[in-house]
């Protein structure tokens, strides 16, 4: 067996060029497939992280009718017992109570339909963490001239700063990333000039947090009072005055146009639904277990009163977006592999055709055809493994680094990304199954490509082969 393997290894180097070309085509295919797929999957993970993990939660507990008819009337009673029973599930990381509804906001002559998210100020920190989104710096055009005068800024940096005129930031780090400014001293100077006041809500706060775009549209300042009006529980009238405590920047532009956070108690009071909730948002320890947890949670609950929905159900658009994009990537990879497949196929055909006589001699002196086929398969596996292993080795530092330190976009591109609701990063997925699948695909391709050519060995006519 060792001799056979050794023979196969030496055989592939009889035509060095062909082996290298075939392996190289596998190498490139696998390299591009891995890198591309890693970017894709990384982006999907990130999208899910951004709009599910840090906003809606992976699962939501709702009243049974809420899913088809989301509204305050389809709310349910909030009890510590219920919350604890969810939080006690070993797979549940955190469950937080929410009241979500709509209202009309107005200040002065401006008014706009908005979305209210009533949150448990403390608990919510462990799910959507609105405090993290608090706007702390704003590049108000009125003050930007002062920023441009800061000594030590390069032309490029000023250009980048100009792109972000009127934009809001959560942290100096974000300014650094988006505008490409590394100098800590300069950053601090910028921070000083552009600092924006505003604070997170306190427990039972009667003020609100307003999303960035909404605040700009309504021309709200911290301390302004917003008038909210709407329909409350069972058709009651909801109305109230809400001082603005802070501005939050929500990644999704859609939400950023219309979101208002208020404390849970204030929201319940406003809508006249004491102790009622519209949803419990739930995050998990292991997101791949979502469906299992959904099932087990459901089975523990009175299903006449509560249902548990997963994000793919309450956010089908995100699911479809990801699936649609993923199909595109898969098609590309399939095309890539089909091309490589024919390359391998051609190689096997030639490898066999040009050695007819040799196979004839070997069979004549007593080597079984099965063993001859086996040698060819090992040769192909060598060629395939050569391409696949080198391709995986070459792509793994990229995957590793791209996953650990995602590519940060800056300037115009970053702004474009953010305007579409994506964070300006291009993360790569880690060494998930997709990575190892590429190797499996190559092995299958090699075997598939060898299948028909190998038949010609099985059907080898000894006399014909010897005369070849």
């Amino acid at each position: 067996m060792k001799r056979i393997t050794q023979m196969a290894w030496r055989n592939i180097w009889r035509n060095r060029k062909r082996t290298i070309i075939t392996s190289a085509s596998i190498f490139f295919a696998i390299f591009f497939a891995i890198v591309m797929r890693s970017f894709q999957l990384g982006t999907y993970d990130h999208m899910i992280h951004q709009s599910i993990e840090t906003y809606t939660g992976f699962l939501q507990l709702q009243s049974p009718d809420y899913f088809d008819e989301p509204g305050l009337d389809n709310s349910f009673e909030y009890s510590d017992e219920l919350l604890n029973s969810i939080n006690n599930h070993p797979e549940v990381k955190i469950a937080v109570p929410r009241v979500e509804s709509f209202a009309l906001a107005s200040i002065g002559v401006k008014s706009k339909g908005i979305m209210v998210n009533g949150i448990d100020v403390e608990k919510e920190a462990r799910l959507s963490d609105p405090e993290r989104n608090l706007v702390r710096y704003r590049f108000d055009s009125k003050i930007m001239d002062e920023v441009y005068k800061i000594l030590g800024l390069t032309e490029d940096e000023i250009d980048n700063l100009k792109i972000y005129e009127n934009a809001s930031f959560n942290s100096l780090n974000k300014i650094s990333l988006n505008c490409g400014i590394d100098d800590q001293e300069i950053l601090e100077k910028i921070g000083k000039i552009t600092a924006f006041e505003g604070s997170y809500l306190k427990e039972n706060d009667d003020g609100i947090l307003v999303s960035d775009r909404l605040s700009k549209f309504m021309q709200l300042e911290i301390g302004d009072t917003l008038v909210l009006m709407g329909t409350g529980y069972h058709g009651s009238t909801a109305a109230g005055l809400f001082p603005v405590r802070g501005i939050v920047k929500i990644p999704s532009p859609e939400l950023d146009n219309k979101l208002v956070y208020m404390s849970l108690t204030r929201a319940q009071e406003f809508y006249g639904m004491e102790n009622m909730l519209t949803t419990l948002a739930i995050n998990l320890h292991d997101n791949s277990e979502m469906l299992v947890v959904q099932k087990s949670l459901s089975s523990n609950l009175d299903n006449n009163k509560y249902v548990v929905k997963n994000w793919e159900e309450f956010n089908p658009i995100l699911k479809q977006t990801i699936e649609g994009d993923s199909v595109g990537g898969v098609v590309f990879i399939v095309i890539l592999y089909v091309i490589v497949f024919f390359g391998i196929f051609g190689t096997v055909l030639m490898m066999i055709a040009e050695r007819k006589r040799e196979f004839g001699v070997l069979n004549a002196i007593g080597m079984k055809k099965r063993l001859l086929m086996y040698v060819v398969i090992i040769e192909m596996v060598f060629i395939g493994a050569l391409g696949a292993i080198t391709g995986m080795i070459a792509s793994s530092p990229l995957v590793y680094l791209g996953n650990k330190f995602p590519i940060q976009l800056s300037g115009e591109t970053a702004k474009m990304y953010e305007e579409m609701g994506y964070e300006a990063v291009m993360p790569m997925a880690s060494f998930d199954p997709y990575f190892w699948w590429q190797a499996v695909i190559v092995v299958l391709m090699v075997i598939g490509a060898s299948f028909f050519p190998l038949k010609s060995i099985r059907k080898l006519k000894l006399m014909k082969a010897l005369r070849a």
Binding site: R3, I365, G366, M367, K368, M463
Partner: protein, 235 residues
């Protein structure tokens, strides 16, 4: 003891309109230890006959027994195995596996027989020495002359301890010195180790060395002469 028995062997090709009787009723025996040449003009049927005797080609009719086994009844892998264990082959050219060294080539059939590397080692070395290639054991075929390659082929043919060795024009591609050397080696092996050789040839010098000369024409044996110590016996 009869190593090979051939009974009314025929091979007919129907490929064109005319039937070609490449081997046309050959009946022939070979005893252990023979050193026999099959001669005849081109197209007389030497290769066809040897191929059938070696179990490489199917006869149209007739029988071949090797060591008492009726070879015509073997098929597929059983036949391949039979060749491996009973018959040694030396072809006119391209005998050797190009990626294996002389030693590995020689050893190859023994490994196919399932012998361990250690068992093979001593024997291959001995065989290569006896064909005069003790010094070139680790050379690949491309680095050997045509004559040396044929000697390796002889060593390989012997490695499996076959009942006899078939060689179809083993010297056709060799110059006269190499031919001489190869023949001397074959003769020595035949005399000293009683190995049966059956070979075909066009070469008068090769014929001279043979102790039995079978002449065939148009697929038929026209003479079968045994030389015993220079004496010619016509039968």
């Amino acid at each position: 003891m009869k190593v090979i028995e051939i009974k009314d062997l025929r091979k007919t090709y129907n490929e064109s309109e005319v039937k070609v009787h490449a081997v046309n009723g050959v009946t022939l025996d070979f005893e252990e230890g023979e050193f026999a040449a099959i001669v005849g003009p081109s197209g007389s049927g030497k290769t066809t006959l040897l191929n059938m005797v070696g179990g490489l080609d199917d006869p149209t009719s007739g029988e071949v027994f090797v060591g008492g086994t009726k070879m015509n009844e073997l098929k597929g892998e059983a036949l391949t195995d039979f060749r491996l264990n009973n018959i040694g082959f030396v072809f006119q050219s391209y005998n050797l596996i190009p990626v294996l060294t002389a030693k590995e080539n020689t050893e190859f059939v023994m490994r196919l027989q399932g012998k361990s590397a250690r068992d093979c080692d001593a024997r291959t070395e001995e065989l290569l020495k006896s064909v005069g290639l003790g010094e070139r054991m680790n050379a690949r075929p491309a680095k050997l002359s045509g004559g040396q390659q044929q000697r390796v082929a002889v060593a390989r043919a012997l490695a499996s301890k076959p009942k006899f060795i078939l060689a179809d024009e083993p010297t056709a591609n060799l110059d006269s010195t190499s031919t001489e050397t190869l023949l001397d080696i074959m003769e020595k092996l035949n005399k000293e180790e009683n190995i049966t050789f059956v070979f075909s040839t066009h070469d008068a010098r090769v014929v001279k060395k043979a102790r039995r000369v079978i002449t065939i024409e148009d697929g038929k044996i026209i003479s079968d002469i045994r030389k015993n110590g220079g004496e010619k016996i016509n039968n």
